[in-house]
């Protein structure tokens, strides 16, 4: 039985669902191009996601604090001053938003490239562990070194681009829809990238990097490129999420979060972005509806911390999927472009060749 009666509560609920879904789509699809297409198990996803969040927080501090004359950027008074200043300056909030998302992509991408350097020649599982260690090192550094985002207690009062918009529920719905549109654009761009000749190289490197290097493709360069792209997308997601939650807490960026994203990829389909999106939808619904606050809304009370139960189920899901359906719900499909291109080219040059192609393809 639902206890939601007023429409604004419902709108906030829906917009939070859309928001988390768009973040999870971006993160899981970027994990999929690394893990599914190229065979790089990037367990340091939180590192790049966190970097996006840090970029957002730092740019907001850099722009607002000199104007409002804040002394300590991390205390509650400054947060209130920033928010009230942002409400009076809509163009400023929007231009900061655009600048930040672009910078977050670039900085996280560069970080991904740098992180790939010491790790790329390692065996796959040790590559994963090394990236996980980078992520943890970053988190521990940021939560201890206060001048970055305020240490353990984090920073709040990061005004979103639509903070001046009234009514509030509608603003959050619009913002989450924008994020969803960005997620769809990311998805479409990646699909066209993965169906290009370069996209086929990724799978070649994953399946056998010796063969790929025989054909003149440098596996190390390909892996570095994919890590750069994946990290850029994760940074974008981090910046977008920061403007939604309007706060950054270093302890949100822990390894189990990465495992959760990985579970989406494994469940939906390794090497298939459509499947990954399906996995992201299913697991983000599971995640949203297994929050204690959500269960209370539905009238259910439990005597223990539900997040333990959630992560336990994620662990079980990873094992079961690997044991019984290791290709995921929607298995990997062959790359589309070459067949289309070959068929079209042959179709134009004559029917005799066309028959031959058809025979070969059957």
């Amino acid at each position: 039985m639902l206890m939601i009666t007023d429409p604004s509560g419902l709108i906030i609920l829906i917009s939070s669902l859309i928001m988390y879904l768009s973040i999870y789509i971006m993160l899981s699809v970027s994990t999929n191009i690394e893990y599914g297409f190229t065979g790089i198990p990037n367990l340091g996803k939180t590192l790049f996601y966190f970097m996006g969040a840090i970029v957002a927080a730092r740019i907001v501090i850099l722009v607002y604090d000199p104007i409002i004359g804040a002394v300590n950027p991390f205390d509650a008074k400054t947060a209130v001053m920033r928010t009230s200043y942002a409400i009076q300056n809509p163009p400023l909030t929007i231009s900061i938003f655009i600048l930040t998302t672009i910078l977050a992509i670039i900085i996280s991408g560069v970080l991904g490239y740098l992180a790939s350097y010491p790790a790329i020649s390692l065996r796959e599982d040790f590559l994963a562990i090394t990236l996980l260690i980078f992520g943890e090192a970053m988190r521990i550094f940021v939560r201890t070194y206060e001048p970055i985002v305020g240490g353990v207690f984090g920073i709040s009062g990061i005004p979103g681009p639509l903070i001046w918009f009234e009514p509030k529920p509608l603003a959050s719905l619009i913002y989450s829809s924008i994020c969803m549109i960005i997620a769809v654009i990311v998805f479409l761009l990646l699909e066209s990238f993965l169906n290009s000749p370069l996209g086929r190289v990724l799978k070649a490197v994953r399946d056998d990097d010796l063969v790929a290097s025989v054909f003149g493709k440098d596996p190390i360069k390909v892996r570095a490129l994919v890590l750069t792209i994946g990290s850029g997308i994760a940074g974008l997601a981090g910046a977008l999420y920061t403007f939604y939650s309007q706060a950054v807490f270093p302890d949100d960026f822990v390894p189990p979060f990465t495992f959760f994203i990985l579970a989406m990829v494994l469940l939906g389909g390794v090497g298939n972005n459509v499947g990954t999106v399906v996995g992201a939808v299913l697991l983000s619904l599971f995640e949203r509806f297994s929050q204690a606050s959500m269960l209370e809304l539905l009238g259910i009370r439990i005597g223990f911390d539900i997040s333990y139960f959630r992560y336990m189920m994620i662990g079980l899901l990873i094992i079961l999927v690997l044991m019984f359906r290791s290709q995921g719900m929607i298995p990997e499909k062959p790359v589309k472009t070459p067949l289309y291109e070959i068929l079209l080219r042959r179709f134009n040059t004559g029917t005799k060749r066309q028959e031959k192609v058809n025979e070969n393809n059957i």
Binding site: R123, I133, F134, Y308, L322
Partner: protein, 297 residues
């Protein structure tokens, strides 16, 4: 000399954690060599050992008996996770990467199962009833009965493992499987039996480290997970092949994090919360400079 006395305190306390890291890391190295799984669920064997040991001492069992029982439970858990999860996957031809991801799943499952149990039973922070008594002092460092117990057990365990691997037929089989599993199977080595023994020992090592940890300080369901990256660092420094190098790796990690942090803290007043960064740095340096061949593609 205050500085020397303080340094001795660090030396004495680092010795204990180094022993814990080394013990757990030896188990990890062993199971990695036999199965080629970089086992993330190793952390959970540590936690299970710690919890079982602490609970057994709390209901009044003798610490030594509790220790053996808890390590036994951890090794049974290790064998059963292999029988239920890893072995079927391996037989279906799963690649090392998939086995690694499966071990993450197993780890998550076990860790949060224990968290649920601890949350419901109100055991989220637990201290065992082992009382540490100082035997004598080195500077400011108190050498306790726990030091004696841990080091004795550690030496016994390493000695046992060394003689098992170098002297017995089982050890010969282990070395054969480590270098080439298919060839070992073809030449009639009881691969599955040896695999079971390896998991038993790996679980026992992790459980031992866990129980000793629970005697040392208070525990929570994340104890093993917090230790895991340190244990991995020790094994990575050891190149994931040799037991002696892994032991050395454990001592390098244990001493570097405490001594270097103490040094930086007293000289440059650096916050001890940065401590985890030291082993991480050591790992990166190892990977860049030493390039252990077992860890490369």
């Amino acid at each position: 000399m205050l500085i020397i006395e303080e340094a001795l305190r660090q030396v004495v306390s680092s010795l204990l954690v180094s022993v814990f890291y080394s013990t757990a890391a030896v188990g990890l190295t062993l199971s990695f060599n036999i199965t080629k799984i970089a086992n993330f669920a190793h952390a959970e064997y540590i936690t299970i050992g710690a919890y079982v040991g602490a609970i057994l001492t709390l209901i009044g069992l003798d610490p030594i008996l509790a220790l053996i029982a808890a390590a036994g439970v951890a090794s049974i858990v290790a064998v059963s996770t292999d029988e239920v999860f890893y072995k079927p996957l391996y037989k279906r031809g799963a690649r090392p990467l998939q086995l690694f991801v499966a071990s993450i799943g197993v780890g998550l499952f076990l860790r949060y199962l224990m968290s649920l149990y601890a949350d419901i039973g109100d055991l989220l922070f637990l201290s065992s009833r082992f009382s540490q008594q100082p035997l004598f002092y080195l500077g400011h460092g108190a050498v306790t009965n726990l030091h004696l117990l841990s080091i004795a057990l550690f030496v016994l365990f390493i000695g046992f493992l060394y003689s098992l691997i170098s002297k017995t037929k089982i050890g010969k089989g282990m070395r054969a499987i480590a270098s080439n599993p298919e060839l070992a199977l073809v030449s009639g080595i009881p691969v599955w039996k040896i695999r079971r023994i390896a998991w038993l020992i790996a679980g026992f090592a992790a459980g031992l480290a866990g129980v000793l940890w629970s005697y040392y300080t208070s525990i929570n369901p994340e104890t093993g997970w917090r230790m895991l990256l340190w244990v991995f660092s020790a094994s990575i420094i050891g190149g994931f092949t040799s037991i002696w190098q892994t032991v050395l790796g454990g001592f390098i990690i244990g001493y570097s994090e405490n001594m270097v942090m103490w040094f930086l803290n007293s000289l440059f007043n650096i916050d001890p919360a940065y401590k985890p960064l030291i082993p991480y740095g050591v790992i990166v340096i190892t990977l860049l400079v030493r390039k252990p061949p077992a860890l490369l593609r």
